[in-house]
């Protein structure tokens, strides 16, 4: 028999609700000041450095990290609340989101002390932007086929090759990337890759924009030509990146950003149908809300298990698998229901605009950060099938 799946009915503690009110009030002020428009998820100017600093000033970056590095030693559940409220408001989080969720924790675990003291407080102040260098032109889901090389040189490493689909590389100050330091071995094809911290402002890096089908510009090709990385920028074990890559995945995979990406179309549909929906609209909305509530309860449950020190890797992969599929299908379900909306509904144009954008965004949701296929492989392993 398989190990039991666990989704305990964990509730956010009372301090989270105080925090939620603070975040909502802050976001309302930012919206009123014109920093961003919650009804325009498709905006081009989603890089907002000043907003990033103000979020840092509030103490909402590096929330769970030790105080000595500028962190706030708050709970993972409190961070959860900040993340979900930002996402619901369509706030411009691009500049700080990756650093806060992923890069900071990697540095905390593997970077030497002086680098932690230098960079982590700046992440907490919302001053630096990170990107992640994983995919290459010929290796995506097959992470361990990466070829971009780090060659030992005096005092450090020379990097040659390229990364691709690198979100935010064009605005990033740093990248955490994996490079090949040795060939893989017969016994372990994952051997030979090492994690490095790359300073994007140093020479030998060309960032080439790649236009997306949404019309937005988020990802890039990053070409390294004899780019120098000092020895102390190596993170963790030489040739052993594969041991480090998996432990953070539970955090990365189960957050609210894994099912709320297209949420805005649902709110706008509810607005369009008004207070007295016909049966078809009511039934459609009811199902979507039930699915949303269930996703969120699963996601909060995983967050609570992480906070309790457990490693719910399978549960987290399940959240991303069904969460991303849900947010991918949501705009299509909303479109079906929108067909019955009164053509005179005052927000008809907004709903149409949002739907176009969400439908164009949808394909990427089950690809980025671990494809559906990769996730199902992990779940299958957890079930004891492989």
């Amino acid at each position: 028999m398989t190990a039991a799946l666990r989704f305990d009915p964990i509730r956010l503690p009372p301090e989270c609700e105080v925090l939620r009110r603070e975040v909502r009030a802050f976001l309302a002020e930012e919206i009123a000041a014109g920093t961003f428009d919650p009804h325009k998820p498709q905006r081009e100017d989603s890089d907002a450095p000043e907003f990033s600093r103000r979020v840092g000033e509030r103490g909402w970056l590096g929330m769970t990290w030790p105080k000595q590095y500028g962190g706030h030693e708050r709970s993972f559940l409190e961070r959860y609340v900040v993340t979900e409220e930002m996402r619901i408001a369509n706030a411009p989080t691009r500049r700080f989101f990756v650093a806060d969720r992923q890069s900071g924790p990697v540095l905390l675990k593997y970077a030497p002390e002086h680098i932690k003291m230098d960079i982590l407080p700046r992440i907490c102040r919302g001053e630096v932007c990170f990107s992640i260098g994983m995919s290459e032109p010929n290796s995506g889901s097959d992470l361990f086929a990466a070829k971009t090389k780090a060659t030992k040189t005096n005092g450090g490493w020379l990097i040659n090759g390229s990364k691709i689909w690198t979100t935010s590389a064009h605005i990033a100050d740093y990248m955490i990337a994996i490079f090949r330091t040795s060939p893989s071995t017969k016994e372990n094809r994952r051997h030979g890759l090492t994690q490095f911290l790359v300073n994007m402002k140093q020479p030998g890096i060309a960032v080439n924009p790649i236009a997306q089908i949404t019309g937005q510009y988020e990802f890039n090709e990053v070409v390294f030509t004899d780019h120098f990385v000092p020895d102390d920028h190596m993170l963790g074990e030489l040739d052993g990146a594969w041991k480090q890559a998996t432990s953070e995945l539970a955090y990365e995979r189960s957050g609210p950003e894994r099912f709320l990406e297209t949420y805005y179309v649902l709110t706008e549909l509810v607005r369009a149908v008004g207070n007295h929906p016909d049966t078809r609209s009511a039934e459609g909305i009811g199902r979507l809300v039930a699915q949303l509530h269930t996703m969120r309860r699963m996601s909060v449950s995983v967050a609570g298990m992480l906070q309790a020190g457990r490693e719910p890797v399978v549960e987290a992969s399940i959240v991303k698998d069904i969460g991303t599929l849900w947010e991918q299908q949501l705009p299509h379900r909303v479109r079906e229901l929108a067909a019955f909306v009164d053509a005179d509904a005052s927000n008809h144009a907004t709903l149409d605009e949002m739907l176009s954008f969400a439908i164009k965004t949808a394909p990427k949701l089950t690809i980025q950060g671990g494809t559906t296929e990769v996730l199902r492989g992990i779940i299958a392993r957890g079930l004891g099938l492989r």
Partner: protein, 354 residues
């Protein structure tokens, strides 16, 4: 709490393991397993779990009782344990003592209504009443000029047309024609038929989630035994991905049902929040039953389509339970109306409140 971390649920699990083994039941032609199973459950006070001790019940907490129902779902228990627990809970709302033996509840569908006549008798028709043909008594919610009452009625006093659900468990039509209750008492203020539907929907959600856990377990096990094309079928990626999807549906059902159970056990006091939790559980568990049962059968192939195999005990019950106490379509319409009435900008605050 839907885990086995309480002694009541552990007792129930032990009884199910000893006396409700699926293989034994699937082989049985005469239903001889039913009487000893019920007797063991009754001896341990499980059917009257939610009846207070001063009314001769076991007086266990709602949460402990919910864990019993999860276990009953995992074993696809086909005696009216859930129904009797529900009836005992309902009667206790009006401080009516529960009789011994099997009891069921009516109405079992939000579309049916029972009337409390001026002379104190009950009239009306309730369809899809589970186990009415086997129950000695029926606990009902009926409305009259004086408001809502809860009553205890003898099954013999009603006209019962036998029917069967998808899993061949009794699902009967009960006609009340000026039936005089054995006991009747006004429902507590604010309690009406919706209260019974909410509790019934949650009970069925927990049972469905439990059945899905077993479907996942036996499907994974079977995939590791069956060989095709010279490999265990668990080694085929297409099969692995199907089982991963089944794990996802099972997880969604477990999360939704245990969250709603936690809400009704006391973590929610706001009516809209309770409604969101329970409606979502019934909707999502029913959806999971459909997708999950299909995958479990697909993995098992033809053998799972036989009477002899145990799989249908779980799949058909999970599918059947969708229909009781409001189908997913019913709850979706009601939830959609609630969300629309609150307005677009109140949707997220409602979801985030849980």
């Amino acid at each position: 709490m839907t885990d086995t971390d309480n002694i009541v649920a552990e007792t129930a699990e032990r009884i199910f393991a000893d006396l409700a083994d699926s293989q034994m039941i699937a082989k049985s032609k005469d239903g001889a397993w039913k009487a000893p199973l019920w007797q063991a459950l009754a001896d341990n006070g499980l059917p009257l779990s939610w009846v207070p001790e001063d009314c001769d019940g076991s007086g266990v907490s709602l949460a402990e009782g919910f864990a019993v129902l999860s276990a009953a779902g995992r074993s696809a228990v086909a005696v009216p344990l859930a129904e009797t627990m529900l009836a005992g809970w309902l009667l206790a709302q009006a401080k009516i003592a529960s009789p011994e033996g099997m009891i069921t509840v009516a109405p079992a569908s939000p579309k049916d209504r029972l009337t409390l006549n001026a002379d104190g008798t009950v009239s009306g028709r309730a369809r899809g009443v589970p186990f009415a043909t086997e129950a000695k008594h029926i606990a009902v919610v009926a409305s009259g000029i004086g408001g809502v009452s809860i009553a205890l009625i003898e099954a013999n006093a009603c006209r019962i047309e036998a029917g069967l659900n998808l899993a061949d468990d009794p699902s009967d039509t009960v006609t009340f024609d000026h039936v005089k209750p054995l006991a009747s008492h006004p429902a507590p203020s604010g309690f009406d038929q919706n209260g019974l539907m909410l509790m019934g929907a949650l009970v069925r959600s927990l049972q469905i989630a439990g059945a899905l856990e077993t479907m996942l377990g036996i499907s994974v096990q079977y995939s590791g035994e069956r060989v095709a094309f010279e490999k265990k079928i668990s080694k085929f990626q297409a099969v692995q991905h199907n089982l991963a999807k089944l794990a996802g549906e099972t997880s969604a059902a477990l999360a939704a049902a245990s969250s709603a159970a936690d809400a009704l056990s006391g973590s929610a006091s706001d009516d809209d929040a309770i409604f969101l939790e329970v409606a979502s559980a019934k909707i999502r568990c029913s959806e999971a039953a459909e997708k999950g049962a299909a995958i479990a059968h697909q993995v098992h192939g033809a053998i799972g389509f036989t009477r002899e195999h145990v799989l249908h005990r779980y799949t058909l019950r999970a599918l059947a339970w969708r229909d009781d106490f409001g189908s997913e379509s019913h709850w979706a319409v009601e939830l959609g109306r609630l969300v629309a009435a609150r307005g677009a900008d109140e949707l997220w605050p409602l979801v985030a409140s849980r």
